[in-house]
């Protein structure tokens, strides 16, 4: 692995997610991050950015989301920054994995995946922005 970072700015639009994932994958390959770590980080970023685009704004048109990925030693950090409405994913209720099919809630799956895929998640609200940092041990 090689230390390094990349900052990617995308428009708040669903079609931009694929470009984000492509950029992260290329950056990760260049820095020799293992495929399964990259897969997990890309899926977590997809979940968070999708949430912002779908629920963060009254009208996402013209809004921008900034994603920064940093490889440092044996950890990868990814930060998502957006100017959408305040949302701390820690406040999302957990998914009841033991509920039978008929009683399974259809919401909340994305945040559950992010929690499961990552080793840590920190949220702060700063300058009217949501700043969410994910941490993943590279293995």
């Amino acid at each position: 692995m090689h230390d390094g970072s990349i900052t990617i700015r995308i428009g708040a639009a669903v079609h931009e997610i694929e470009r984000l994932n492509r950029c992260v994958r290329q950056f990760g390959e260049l820095h020799e991050v293992p495929g399964r770590t990259l897969y997990a980080v890309n899926l977590a970023l997809d979940e968070l950015v999708s949430n912002v685009i779908l629920y963060g704004y009254d009208n996402p048109h013209g809004e921008e989301i900034t994603v920064k990925v940093l490889v440092e030693g044996d950890h990868l950090h990814a930060t998502v920054e957006d100017g959408g409405r305040e949302f701390d994913p820690h406040t999302a209720p957990p998914v009841d994995l033991d509920a039978p099919l008929a009683k399974r809630q259809v919401g909340g799956l994305g945040i559950h995946l992010v929690r499961s895929l990552m080793d840590g998640m920190e949220y702060k609200r700063s300058d009217s922005k949501n700043v969410l940092t994910l941490r993943k041990k590279i293995r």
Binding site: L43, V95, L101, R104, L117
Partner: protein, 117 residues
């Protein structure tokens, strides 16, 4: 994402190809619901070409499975690639959905009388 559909005996098979993600999941969910509302009671999702799924795609599958459950039909998933199967496990779907490794096993389970596969 692309889907192809075919009917084999009683089984309505939907083959998913590509990424089931935020961009494609709503149309997919609507299609599943319409098929069940239209009377299909044996739905098979063949996923060997589905390389990626996110929570909106998982939600679409869950909505379809719940809808089918409410009319006592069969909703079966087969052919999940290992990375996608891992996500199904993580979200608890392997406990609540009927999942088979291969299409042949799924069809055998759905058509115990051995109708054409």
């Amino acid at each position: 994402m692309e889907t192809t559909e075919s009917k084999i005996g009683e089984v309505y098979e939907v083959t998913v190809q590509g990424h089931l993600d935020t961009a494609s999941s709503q149309a997919f969910e609507d299609r599943l619901v319409r098929l069940i509302e239209g009377g299909e009671r044996h739905l098979l999702l063949e996923c060997s070409g589905m390389g990626y799924v996110n929570s909106s795609g998982l939600k679409a599958i869950l909505v379809g499975a719940k809808q089918m459950d409410s009319v006592a039909g069969k909703f079966v998933v087969c052919g999940l690639v290992p990375s996608v199967y891992g996500i199904f496990e993580m979200i608890g779907f392997t406990r609540i959905l009927s999942i088979f490794p291969t299409r042949e096993e799924a069809l055998r389970q759905m058509q115990p009388d051995g109708a054409a596969a």
